[in-house]
Amino acid sequence: MRRAVPVGIGFLQKITKNGAKNFRDRRSENSSGQLALNCSNPLIFGRGKIVLEVKNLSVSIGGRQILDDLDLTVRDGEVAALMGPNGSGKSTLSHVLAGRKDDTVETGEVLLNGESLLNLEPDARAAKGLFLAFQYPVEIPGVATLTFLKAALNAQRKQRGQEEFSTPDFMKRVKALAGKLKISQDMLKRALNAGFSGGEKKRMEILQMALLEPAFAILDETDSGLDIDALRVVADGVNALRSPARGFLIITHYQRVLDYVVPDIVHVMAQGRIVRSGGKELAVELEKSGYRDYVAEPAVA
């Protein structure tokens, strides 16, 4: 399911420090109009309902402002790439969406398929269809991977009021998916992520995504630390899951992964907000010019 990126880049402007403000002003002007659905995103998509909507989100950690009045919308069927320099708040956004406790949400709203997420525990968000592929998947010694996968799948099904899978059914599913992702039986028997290589951990994240069939998946720098073969395996896994009923947010530094998982839209994040959005060629441009224009100039003493 691919879609050509609609024209409309000219509508965008490169946001400078002042520009960002202009851009936000423009959005508010539009917010009452017909384009309101896409208010945070000047690219207009006619199809796909909104799966994720982030509105005016401000977040701090330990008193430090990380996300600053951020808006972001992702639609069903859309693969959105989120790029930006180190420290721009990309990973914090992923953690806030998934519900990590360290982050203090000051203002704003996050809706998944129209339902508010912010007051939900992380597991309830998962049951609603949110999936986060961690940048650093956590090692959990002593918990066998298979045990964990089954517990997760059935817990979600239970929360959704669905019937839990029997062990044979579950095994059938896992084995089929594991084969595609080149995950050995041995790995499934080992403790979750414990002693896995970087590539193994990332493949395990994709396996979980495939198994849990989320409505919306965030991939937080899933490409980092992968060699080209591993990257291809991971990308194939993601592409296989692209569907009109599923949205993706791919957080990355590099354009490389986007050669394999071609995005519908690219957002650039800096200083806690989206400062520019565009088509996939924006990623190419960033690769060339770097993030220099988006990094705050050093404060004048």
Binding site: E121, D123, I140, V143, A191, L212
Partner: protein, 458 residues
């Protein structure tokens, strides 16, 4: 600091002195044993019940925690034994078992013991007085004047002496069942010995059985010693289930182990559900190139207090010791771990590693951890580690993002935390049994704890 100041006797100490005076004439043993008892009680009287000013008992102030001493248990009557027989059959208590009821060896309940195993009561051994056996049974050099071991020697009523002939290999576990059947709360003092001849191999599985007819006798007081001697090349795998349902119960357990050359001692213990437990293990490598693996899990809630104290003495060279203990502490429980690796002069090439991990689940729980190294030989590789903290919130978060509700995520992590050591038992059936105990404890907890928060440190 002021260990030589003896405070006034507590009611428990006075009661113990009365008990000794009243019962000493009737306790089993020949003249030598009687002298030994007298000397032991004298030694106990000097220190009294150990208290916090005695370094080895600093964190378990028995004088404060044990307010009174219960009357001595008596040998179970025929009706009790019959009732237990029926219960064992119903509960499928495994055959190949040795049964102690309230500390007394009951041959009628014991069953299915294989060739090469000689089993008799402690009382008969003490009466017969074979010098080598008495010497082993006393083994007071191992426990270095521990007052609780002395008290046990003074008052020991019975127990079992198991001798395994050299080169005898018994694959399936020998079950040592400690049954509690006294209709009223009682104190029992038992001392048992397990002697493995050279090249013998055995698995000893200790378990607990609480008789149906018993009152809430969990509130009993047990002082049990187990003395183990491993001949050269012998192998012993030992598991102990120190569990119960007795908030008022007191269990003082001392395991003293001598290990010959090229022998292996593997031990695991689960502690749960007893008000006050102290498990002390004194392990000495007397022959070269042997190995000891000691591990244990303590699951504590309520106001329980569990203390594991180890002394591993490397006297002979080239031995390996590993001590790994884990604690889960809920509600107002207190955990204590003290482990000392001692390397004597000349015990070169010693490899000793100790680890204790404690998980606190409640704001009112406490853990005291004292791993110790005492090293008098230079060519050694010794170390210890200790960690103490709450659940890893990154792990919890990860599990929650995959859809596991908090309580389930927590249980999964705790089960994995404890399970890691349970899986090391090395016997399918026993692993299952211990896993069941751990799961049962976890599911009986009063709901999940509050979600922990991450300390924010820049």
């Amino acid at each position: 600091m002021n260990a030589d100041i003896i405070p006034a006797r507590t009611p428990a100490e006075i009661s113990l002195a009365r008990t000794f005076d009243a019962f000493k004439a009737g306790l089993p043993g020949n003249m030598d044993v009687t002298k030994w008892r007298e000397a032991s009680f004298k030694a106990f009287k000097v220190s009294g019940l150990p208290h916090r000013r005695i370094e080895a008992w600093h964190y378990t102030d028995l004088r404060a925690l044990m307010r009174d001493a219960l009357p001595l248990a008596s040998f179970p009557g025929a009706a009790t034994i019959d009732a237990l027989r029926a219960e064992f059959a119903a509960a499928r208590v495994p055959r190949q078992r040795i049964v102690l009821v309230d500390g007394f060896f009951v041959p009628e309940l014991s069953d299915g013991l294989p060739e090469g195993l000689k089993v008799r009561s402690l009382a008969s051994a003490l009466t017969e007085g074979r010098p080598d056996l008495i010497a082993l049974l006393s083994s007071h050099d191992l426990a270095a004047r521990d007052p609780i071991v002395s008290l046990n020697a003074a008052l020991m009523q019975d127990g079992v002496v198991i001798e395994v002939a050299p080169s005898t290999v018994i694959a399936e576990p020998i079950n040592l069942v400690h049954a509690t059947a006294s209709p009223t709360p009682a104190a029992h003092f038992s001392r048992s010995a397990l002697i493995l001849g050279a090249g013998a191999s055995l698995r000893l599985a200790e378990s607990r059985h609480i008789a149906n007819r018993a009152q809430p006798v969990g509130a009993g007081q047990a002082n049990a010693c187990l003395i183990v001697s491993l001949g050269d090349g012998a192998k012993l795998a030992h598991t102990a289930m120190a569990t119960g349902t007795a908030p008022a119960g007191v269990r003082l357990e001392s395991v003293m182990v001598r290990i010959g050359a090229r022998a292996k001692f593997d031990s695991f213990a689960l502690v749960a559900g007893i008000g006050l437990v102290r498990r002390q293990m004194f392990v000495r490598f007397e022959g070269a190139e042997s190995e000891a693996l000691l591990s244990g899990v303590s699951l504590l809630g309520g106001r329980e207090h569990a203390d594991t104290t180890l002394l591993v003495e490397h006297v002979a060279p080239g031995c390996v010791s590993r001590e790994t203990f884990k604690y889960i502490l809920d509600e107002e429980a207190t955990g204590v771990f003290q482990g000392k690796i001692h390397v004597a002069p000349g015990a070169q090439k010693t490899d000793g590693k100790m680890l204790c991990k404690a998980m606190l689940l409640s704001d009112m729980a406490a853990m005291n951890n004292k791993p110790e190294l005492e090293i008098f030989a230079d060519d050694v590789a010794c170390g210890h580690g200790a960690t103490c903290g709450g659940l890893d919130i990154d792990q919890l978060f990860y599990l929650q993002t995959r859809g596991l509700p908090f309580a389930q995520a927590e249980a999964l992590l705790l089960e994995a935390f404890a399970g890691e050591l349970v899986d090391g038992i090395g016997h399918e059936g026993l692993i299952k049994a211990y896993r069941r105990e751990v799961s049962a404890w976890l599911s009986a907890r009063h709901g999940p704890t509050a979600a922990p928060s991450r300390g924010l440190i820049a």
